[in-house]
């Protein structure tokens, strides 16, 4: 077990050590300084020319958001059409059927918003064409959208007073050509070397040693699995995601995929420091987020390593921990670590089945998604954290009786209202839709949907409630992992989570961009002895306290009905 714990610590340290220079590099790229990837310049200029983009043109926050939302809308229509007609399109060697309109609606939105809630299984629900042209494509562009939104915000914070957040098209293109694609090529090659399939051959049929006839699903998976992690998307090529032995063949690839999903979120924190020339601030943010991460991680690792108390009562040996839903080659420590990282970072890929995790782990996974800002997703993690900062600034301002300021601009009613709305929205979406689902299960179990509400839950009692709570929490956090026992491929779940996904993606992007757009246009107030120092450790702890208070008030009652109740029933 010591080796396994060391492995986990190493995975974390390597990611941080790699993220630091990457953050420095990302800051340089978006500040327009010289980097070694300037060799991409001609390619990008060619792209701008054929697309009619004027790279020199700046955008104010409204123009920036309009550009972003227009192209996102286009992708939604494109993805929906492809999924509905996938059976008639080429590259379908396994002869998989089309998606129903409600499933296609959910799938298209889900990948568009960087969530990848999958209400289908990769082996049977999509074709190679849609895997590559919808999933793999949207994984890149949604991650680039998140990065672009953050860079726009940073552009607003960098100047004393400005209307200009930069050119969305240029930032978006560079996020792909300079950051995502090069990292993915490295990752995908390493995966292919370790045995992840990359060819376009369809399913194989074989006879096993014992004489059974089975099939083996394959396909050009390695590239998609790379961007799935680099872009913190999380949608698997195969149904079992990164628990599948072709998607995640060994301990090395497990560490690789883990580092790939951590590297950009953490690099973004450092990039913020280099970009704004406020290194101390980024160290404080990284510190607060890491403390938060450890608070969730340690209890999870301890309970998974100790095993299931109900199975311990049967008198067998649990030397390798709680093994239901886990793979032997990863073991409980690396699986527990993954389950927390993937939920706090908003990746949502899994290397063990969260539905079979211990109650404490389920609680921590859900908390990670509810907070959604300990590192957080590609670009959007920091945007979520920014909302908490604005609220912390406001509360601190009230405590000392001064008009609060943030980065040299007065924070007034309008900005605080936007921040409050964004925070309250997630609590509302998660609880309202879970309540609605619970109502359907309890009162209308025989409604004639593809899966009747009475058959939604794979587990009875508290754990069944957790399945519904987890699904909505995951949709709201744009995470994409699930308590997969839930029978979610029916019109109720496809449509309700579809709406949760869209609102929970774009409002937390629009909110911070608007706040910073409004702030940046205001007069610059020079720092004085009375200014609240947002880059101090004191303020960092204040933000941490705000995060705890907001989320405890919002979610504790719901969690008490699910994982907390299950924990006490299992002791």
């Amino acid at each position: 077990m010591t080796g396994e714990i060391t492995g986990v610590i190493l995975m974390f340290l390597i990611a941080v050590v790699l993220a630091y220079p990457l953050g420095k590099y990302i800051a340089k790229v978006f500040k327009g300084e010289r980097t070694f990837t300037d060799l991409m310049n001609p390619v990008e200029r060619f792209f701008y020319r054929i697309c009619g983009i004027n790279p020199g043109e700046g955008m104010n926050w409204k123009q920036f958001l309009k550009a972003m939302l227009t192209i996102n809308m286009l992708w939604l229509v494109y993805a929906f059409v492809l999924l509905v007609f996938q059976d008639k399109l080429p590259l379908n060697p396994d002869g998989n059927p089309a998606q129903t309109p409600d499933l296609a609606f959910n799938t298209a939105i889900s990948f568009l918003v960087n969530c990848d809630l999958q209400h289908y299984s990769g082996e049977s629900g999509v074709t190679y064409l849609t895997q590559l042209f919808v999933m793999n494509f949207l994984m890149f562009v949604s991650a680039a959208t998140g990065i672009a939104a953050l860079i726009g915000v940073l552009n607003g914070l960098r100047e004393k007073t400005t209307q200009n957040l930069g050119n969305f098209w240029v930032i978006f293109t560079k996020a792909i050509t300079r950051v995502l694609l090069p990292l993915c090529i490295i990752g995908a090659v390493l995966l292919a070397i370790n045995g992840t399939p990359a060819s376009y051959d369809g399913k194989d049929s074989i006879t096993t040693l014992q004489g059974d006839s089975v099939q083996v699903s394959r396909g050009p998976a390695a590239g998609m699995i790379a961007i799935k992690h680099i872009g913190t998307n999380g949608g698997g090529w195969f149904g079992a995601n990164s628990a599948h032995p072709l998607e995640n063949p060994n301990y090395f690839t497990n560490a690789l995929e883990m580092i790939m999903q951590m590297i950009i979120p953490i690099a973004m924190i450092f990039a913020l420091g280099f970009f704004l020339n406020k290194r101390k601030w980024s160290v404080v943010i990284f510190g607060v987020m890491t403390i938060g991460m450890l608070c969730l991680l340690i209890p999870t690792m301890v309970t998974e390593v100790n095993g299931n108390p109900a199975i311990a009562k049967m008198g067998i040996s649990q030397a390798t921990g709680a093994m239901e839903g886990k793979e032997v080659r990863f073991g409980p420590a690396a699986s527990a670590y993954w389950s927390i990282m993937t939920t706090i970072i908003s990746t949502g890929s899994v290397n063990s089945m969260h539905d079979s995790s211990m109650p404490v782990s389920g609680l921590m996974q859900m908390l990670g998604m509810m907070i959604n800002a300990f590192y957080g997703g590609c670009g959007v993690g920091i945007l979520n954290y920014l909302i908490y900062i604005i609220i912390a600034v406001f509360i601190s301002g009230l405590m000392v009786g001064r008009t609060p300021e943030f980065m040299g601009h007065k924070v007034e009613a309008r900005e605080v209202k936007i921040a409050a709305l964004v925070t309250l929205l997630s609590a509302f979406l998660v609880k309202a839709f879970t309540a609605l689902a619970a109502y359907m299960v309890a009162r209308h179990p025989e409604t004639g949907w593809a899966v009747q509400p009475g058959n939604w839950l794979n587990n009875p009692s508290y754990h069944g409630f957790s399945e519904m709570l987890y699904e909505n929490t995951s949709a709201n956090a744009n995470n994409g992992s699930g308590f997969e026992g839930l029978g979610d491929n029916n019109i109720f779940w496809n449509v309700t989570t579809g709406f949760v996904l869209v609102l929970a993606r774009f409002i937390p992007i629009i909110g911070p961009v608007a706040i910073i757009g409004l702030l940046a246009a205001k007069k610059f107030v020079p720092e004085s002895p009375g200014t609240l120092k947002t880059d101090s450790w004191t303020f960092g702890m204040m933000t941490f306290a705000v995060i705890i208070v907001i989320n405890a008030l919002s979610f504790f009652p719901a969690l008490a009905l699910g994982p907390i109740a299950e924990y006490f029933s299992l002791r």
């Binding site: 080796g3 396994e4 492995g7 792209f47 697309c51 227009t70 192209i71 286009l74 299984s121 082996e123 590559l132 494509f137 890149f140 562009v141 694609l181 090659v189 292919a192 045995g195 399939p197 990359a198 060819s199 074989i206 096993t208 040693l209 014992q210 059974d212 089975v214 083996v216 699903s217 050009p220 590239g223 149904g239 628990a243 032995p245 072709l246 060994n250 301990y251 109900a310 199975i311 008198g315 067998i316 649990q318 030397a319 390798t320 709680a322 093994m323 239901e324 839903g325 032997v328 080659r329 073991g331 089945m353 079979s356 109650p359 794979n458 587990n459 009875p460 754990h463 308590f483 029933s569």
Partner: protein, 185 residues
């Protein structure tokens, strides 16, 4: 709006070409140079493919080492875990049944010796490995049902235990069983 739409459409086409066509083809080309040619590595006996190296398979006969329970019955056309929660009474009964059935097939084994990975389903339903304890505990059954010496089987198991630097130790069930079949000849 119109300008945004026109840029969006053109930029989307460019990105589709780059990300959905060129990128996967590039990786597929690199995959061709790897041992499995990007199609997945296979294991053959006498020139006949008997399985994929990464994918576990079902063994029910007493003469073979058995792998873990699987929610998809080891058919890799799909993949899934059981998604059973830790407190689910039906699930706990299922685990109890697996323990009882294992004890019936392995006389002389006490239940304290049964490692949990042998009675719990894996995450993918295709786990190709078991823990070293899970292999050791089956030695006696396999040896007696094949009529070969315990010592020989023990040596074979010992040779198949892999201990990576950081990850947990494991035994590849299919490789072990292939080696076992070779003893006879």
């Amino acid at each position: 709006m119109k300008k945004n739409l026109s840029i969006s459409a053109r930029l989307t086409l460019v990105m589709i070409l780059l990300l959905a066509v060129i990128y996967p083809l590039l990786i597929a080309a690199v995959g061709k140079l790897t041992p499995g040619k990007g199609k997945g590595e296979t294991i053959s006996v006498n020139g006949k493919v008997v399985g994929y190296e990464r994918i576990g398979q079902k063994f029910t006969a007493d003469i073979y080492f058995q792998g873990r329970p699987s929610a998809v019955d080891y058919n890799a056309a799909g993949s899934a875990g059981s998604n059973k929660g830790p407190s689910n009474p039906g699930y706990l009964q299922l685990v109890q049944n697996r323990i009882d059935s294992f004890l019936a097939h392995n006389p002389g084994v006490t239940k304290e010796q049964i490692p949990s990975d042998l009675v719990t389903a894996s995450g993918s339903g295709l786990d190709p490995h078991i823990s070293p304890d899970a292999a050791r505990i089956q030695i006696k059954r396999v040896a007696s049902s094949r009529g070969i010496s315990m010592q020989k089987v023990t040596e074979l198991v010992q040779a198949h235990i892999v201990q990576p630097v950081f990850g947990p130790a494991y035994v590849h069930v299919l490789k072990l069983n292939v080696a076992l079949d070779e003893i006879k000849h």
